[in-house]
């Protein structure tokens, strides 16, 4: 449905997107994951024809976005990072304008009613967009992308700036949409991508770092046996108890966070499940365990993991030749703003 080949975008001397290739199949929800400034927005702007690439090729349903922009754009609904809303219009006026703009053939009122129902905008249909809350504005942006029932939906950070309840609502809407549409969704939040997407592409510094199913990515990440626990007792004996367990790589004390307790980080050897052993050992030493949980991996951890451990990316992708997949070392310093201004 969406084919991207050797996409490169250069702003002066800065490479915003560096030789990215991937394919999205019909009906797939693809997560586009990367830290701020990784080139997500730039890539999406190129996919939708807002920007042109320096070199490479984008095809939507076989139509090249540069050679045949009208046909390609007919098949795309785009929610950019900042929803493109006219503040001086009501929601209904705005969506009606978008219907006209995209040349929707279905009865406009019916079409709009359906969309507003899906994203729950019916209550505010006649309010001025400038008076809506951020969450509602985001929904209007999403509604705008859905106008004309495009086959491909491209959503740039659709949940950014929303409160947790709204995030869950929007995610549900996206999941629903994914049943009938091909969706490309960008995010810098791993959990979000995991919750919604079937396949995940990770990009950093404009390069493709990894591409895998969310499931595989999740599995590879759960191999990371890193736990945090809180133990009631003194530090010395707890350390002894933990270190005596076979298969443990290291134990690190985090110090006292609650009176009479010590917090530890424990990491086991790969593919060794030490959870039961930890419990038994602490019980033997009469050290009550107050909390015990697997540590969440941050996006940075994943980058490190993915970039330093090629095994994870083994299953990488079917449609891109092996040598096009490059692994880069992730620098810890945050990138400046997304390069789509200029």
């Amino acid at each position: 449905m969406v084919e991207i080949k050797n996409l490169t975008k250069r702003y002066g001397s800065k490479l915003a997107v560096d030789n990215i290739s991937f394919t999205v199949r019909k009906g797939e929800i693809l997560g586009f994951l990367g830290p701020n400034g990784a080139g997500k927005s730039t890539t999406m702007n190129i996919l939708t024809g807002y920007l042109s690439c320096t070199s490479g090729e984008v095809k939507i349903d076989g139509y090249d976005i540069l050679d045949n922009p009208i046909e390609a754009k007919k098949r795309i609904g785009y929610l950019p990072e900042h929803p493109p809303l006219y503040m001086d219009m009501t929601v209904r006026e705005y969506l009606s304008f978008v219907c006209e703009l995209k040349g929707v053939t279905e009865d406009h009122n019916e079409h709009m009613a359906k969309i507003m129902d899906t994203v729950k905008l019916t209550d505010v249909a006649d309010r001025l967009i400038s008076n809506l809350s951020k969450g509602y504005k985001q929904r209007v942006g999403l509604a705008q992308a859905m106008v004309g029932n495009p086959e491909v939906l491209i959503l740039d950070e659709p949940t950014v700036g929303l409160d947790p309840k709204q995030i869950i609502e929007i995610r549900d809407v996206i999941k629903k949409l994914g049943k009938e549409h091909t969706v490309i969704l960008s995010s810098h939040i791993l959990q979000e991508v995991n919750a919604v997407c079937e396949r995940v592409i990770i990009i950093n510094n404009g390069r493709l770092v990894a591409s895998d199913t969310a499931e595989n990515l999740g599995k590879s990440l759960s191999n990371e046996n890193k736990f945090q626990l809180r133990i009631l007792g003194d530090e010395r004996s707890a350390l002894d108890a933990l270190e005596s367990i076979p298969g443990i790589k290291y134990v690190k004390s985090l110090g006292r966070k609650e009176a009479g307790t010590i917090d530890f980080v424990v990491e086991s050897e790969p593919n060794v499940d030490v959870r039961a052993a930890i419990f038994m050992s602490l019980a033997e030493h009469n050290l009550p365990m107050l909390s015990f949980y697997a540590m969440d991996l941050s996006l940075e951890d994943i980058f490190l993991e993915v970039t330093q451990n090629p095994a994870i990316v083994d299953s990488v992708y079917d449609n891109v030749a092996e040598d096009e997949v490059e692994f880069v070392n992730v620098e810890e310093k945050p990138e400046e703003e997304e390069g789509d201004e200029a």
Binding site: N45, T48, I76, H82, P84, D88
Partner: protein, 245 residues
Amino acid sequence: MKAIFRREFKSYFNSPIGYVFLAAFFFYASLMFVFINLGSMTTLMKYFFQNISMVFVFVIPILTMRTFAEERKSKTDQLLLTAPVKVTSIVLGKFFAATAVLGIAVLSTMFYVLVLNSYGSPVFSEIFVGYLGLFLMGVFFVSIGLFISSLTQSQVISAVATLAIIFFLWFSSNLAFNFTQMMSGTMMSWLGVALDWLIDFLAINNRFADFTLGILNFVPVFYFVSLTALFLLLTVSVIEKRRWK
């Protein structure tokens, strides 16, 4: 194009801009009419037209300053440029919307002709040609304004730059330096001729003068229409080119 035209036209009257433009225009137009035509008791509208053309210089930037600058600033251009429409349709939609508001302003002043008709005997054909010239000139200014607006994200810069350019075009017929004479006999004599030619070419009032006298000449019509088309074309190419940056 129709969708963009309708949205744009409506937004002139959803915001104060349309009203400010019309109010400013009507204020000065009626002032001119009272002082020029009623004051000197004439049905000749030549001076009225000339003065209205000056009013254009100050009010047309109000009409065009927002068009593209605001879209870029509020990022709504992303909607237009990723929709299945051509850039040309976007530019034309906006152009016709501004032209329509201008048309309302210009047409409304025809009321004055009725006033003249009830107290004297104006020559309608002459007046019609004058109106045609006025409208063509206004439309040309609008195309310049659109072009400038497509270059910036700031409405203020857009308005001021448009004003400066239109004012220069309007004023340059008064730049009677006569470079040809000043530079004749020197090595630079060709430059004098060239400068005079350029100033005469830019001096929009020289083209407009025929219209105000009621003379319908093909050359000035072509001058305004072709320059308008040129600026619209430039606007389209500015927007198309921006993607490649």
